[in-house]
Symmetry: C2
Subunit: 337 residues, 2 copies
C-alpha cells in the first residue's frame, strides 16, 4: 500500500495524508482521525509518526550519559541531539553517575520509553553477551569499544578513538620533548576500560623508549573523572616525593584540576612540570597555561554514532565500528627540557 | 472505571491489564490489542503509557537549551533530567544556539513531540503575549524571567536569580575591596535580557558608591557568551587604554576567557586586575587563580522548574515565579587594594 492508496481510501488528497502523517497543522480534526484510523487498521508504516501509532512504539533514541562531570560528554551531546533531530528521531537522555551501570540503565530506559535504539555516551569496555542480552535494540558505544569484553563485533556498534595509541602518542610527545620521569594520573590502572587502555599506552611508550616503568610515578584516583579526585590525587602524588618532570593525564578536566594542585604545591607548569591530556575541550584553550592535549573529534563522533544507528534502523546498514583520529593541539603546558 | 473493570470487560486478569498498560512482555499480541482497544475506547487514564495511547499525546517534557557553550546550562541540565525522570515524565532535549529563537523552537518541538510542557533553559526577557501564543502547553523559564516583556505573571512560570541584585552585589564586593575603576565585560548592554539586567546592576552599584560611570570601561562582546568573544573583547578592552583595577563579567566561562586575555596582555590577576563573575561552575574552582564568583544554585533551580511544571500538569498548582538566592564564593581572583 502506498500513500496514494490511503488518500484514495479516505477520499482526501495525497498532500493531506502527508500532512496528517507528519503531524503538520491545517488539517481538520475529522480528517486527521479518519486518516489515522485507516492507517492504524491497514498496518501501513510510512514514517515515524505513523509507525508510532501503528506499533504503539516510539521514534525515540535513548542516550545514556555516564558521568556528566566529564565535560567532553556535554560537548558531544549537543551534536548527537542535532543529528538525532535531523534524522527524524526523538532523543531521550538519561544521565547516570560514572559509577553506575549503563547497560542496566539503558535496558530500563528502553522498556520505559519504548526506544528504537540506544547510544551509550561513555561506558565500560568489558560487556559479556549475557549482560547485553538485556538490551533489545541496536546500540552504539560512543567514545569507547568493547576491548576487554566478549560481545561479538557484529552484535554492537562503536565510535571511538584508539585509546592505547592516543595515550602512546601523548607520552611519546613528552619523551620527544626530553622527559624521562613521566608521572601518570589515571582513574584506575586495571578498570578494564578507557583508563586501563590509556595506562597501557603510557607504559608502552615508556618501554619503547627504553624508560623503566616506575610504580611510584603512577597515581590512581579511584575510578571516576571528578575534578576533585584529580586534584587530591595530584596532591598525593606530589607529597609522595618521587620526582617527575612531566605528568600524563587521561582527560582535559582532570588535567585542569591537576595543574591547580601542582601550582598550589609550588610546582610551576610547565617550568617545573609539563602536563599533557586527552580530550581537547574548548575551555582548555583558555586555562593558564593553555593545555596541550590530544583532541578527540567530538562532532565527528556524535555524527557517526547517529549515522550508524539510523542506518541500522532504516535497513541501510549493519553494526559497524568506526575509529576516529586524534590530533595533538599544542598549548603551553609542555616544555622541552 | 478502575483497572479491575478493564480486566473484567476484557476477560483477563488484573495483572495482565497492568502488564499491557506498562508495556511489559509476556502478554500475547491478541490480548494486548484487546486491552488497548478497550482502554482507548473507554477513555481510561491510568498512567503515562496509557495516557499516551488514549490521547495520542505523550508524557514528554521538552527542554530547549539555548547556547550549550554556556557551561552553567550543562550542569543544570542533569538535574532537570533526573527530576523529570523522578516525576514520571520523559525529557526531550533540543539544543539551539544562543542567537536562535527559543519560543519558536519550543513551539515546533511541542507540535512534533506532542509535549505536555516546556522548560526553556535560557532565553530572552521580553516576550509578548502574541509571541508566546505559539506555545500551547505550560512552560517554565529557567534561569531568567520576563522582566522586559508584557506577558502576564499568571500566564507563565520562572525560576531565576535576581540578575540586577546579583550583579549589584558582585560589583559592591569589588568596591568594598577598594576598587573604583571597575570595567564591565557584557554580551550586550541593551539586549532586554540577562546581560542588560546585570549591566544595570553594575551601574547602580557604582552610582550608589558615588563612582561615575565611564563608558570607556564597558566592553560589549556581541550578544553571545562564547569563550572566544569574551577573550577578544577583553583584548580590545585592554588595548583601548582606559585604566581599570577590576573587571566585572556576567558569567564564569567568559571570566575564564577574560583572565586568559589579561594574562596574555601582561596584566596579572589579581595583582594588576581583580576579576569577579556570576555562575559558580565547578571548574572555576580549578582555574588559576581560583575565580571569585556569585554562585547560582543550579540544582535547586533545576528541581524547582520541574516541580512547578509537574504541579501544573497534575493539577496541584498554577503558574508561579521562584526567586533563588546567589551566594559569593570567594576565590583568589579579587584583591583588596
Amino acid at each position: 500500500m502506498t500513500i496514494k492508496d490511503i488518500a484514495k481510501a479516505c477520499g482526501v488528497g495525497v498532500s493531506t495524508v502527508s500532512r496528517v502523517l507528519n503531524n503538520k497543522p491545517d488539517v481538520s480534526e475529522a480528517v486527521r482521525i479518519k486518516v489515522l484510523d485507516f492507517v492504524e487498521k491497514s498496518g501501513y508504516i510510512p514514517n515515524n509518526s505513523a509507525r508510532d501509532l501503528v506499533k504503539r512504539s516510539s521514534d525515540s533514541i535513548g542516550v545514556i550519559v555516564r558521568g556528566m562531570g566529564n565535560l567532553f560528554f556535554s560537548s558531544i551531546l549537543k551534536t548527537i541531539s542535532t543529528e538525532i533531530d535531523k534524522n527524524g528521531y526523538t532523543m531521550v537522555v538519561h544521565f547516570i553517575d560514572s559509577g553506575e551501570d549503563e547497560v542496566k540503565a539503558g535496558a530500563v530506559l528502553e522498556r520505559e520509553k519504548k526506544l528504537r535504539g540506544l547510544i551509550f555516551l561513555g561506558g565500560r569496555y568489558d560487556y559479556s553477551p549475557e549482560e547485553v542480552a538485556l538490551i533489545g535494540v541496536p546500540y552504539v558505544c560512543c567514545s569507547y569499544s568493547n576491548s576487554f569484553g566478549t560481545v561479538k563485533e557484529e552484535n554492537y556498534s562503536s565510535v571511538s578513538v584508539d585509546d592505547y595509541q592516543t595515550a602512546y602518542k601523548a607520552v611519546k610527545y613528552l619523551i620527544d620533548s626530553g622527559h624521562r620521569r613521566i608521572a601518570a594520573l589515571v582513574p584506575a590502572c586495571c578498570d578494564r576500560s578507557v583508563s586501563q587502555l590509556r595506562f597501557n599506552g603510557y607504559k608502552a611508550a615508556l618501554k619503547d623508549s627504553g624508560i623503566n616503568f616506575d610504580e611510584a610515578l603512577v597515581m590512581e584516583t579511584g575510578g571516576h573523572y571528578g575534578l576533585n579526585e584529580a586534584y587530591e590525587g595530584t596532591m598525593a602524588l606530589a607529597e609522595r616525593g618521587a620526582e617527575f618532570t612531566a605528568l600524563f593525564t587521561v582527560s582535559d578536566s582532570t588535567a585542569i584540576a591537576a595543574m591547580k594542585a601542582l601550582e598550589e604545591r609550588g610546582i610551576r607548569v610547565p617550568e617545573d612540570c609539563s602536563v599533557i591530556a586527552i580530550d581537547g575541550l574548548n575551555v582548555s584553550q583558555y586555562v593558564s597555561p593553555t593545555l596541550t592535549t590530544m583532541v578527540q573529534p567530538a562532532d565527528e563522533m556524535g555524527r557517526e554514532c547517529v549515522r550508524i544507528l539510523a542506518d541500522i534502523l532504516e535497513g541501510r546498514g549493519k553494526n559497524r565500528h568506526v575509529r576516529v583520529e586524534t590530533a595533538l593541539r599544542d598549548g603551553a603546558s609542555v616544555k622541552s627540557i
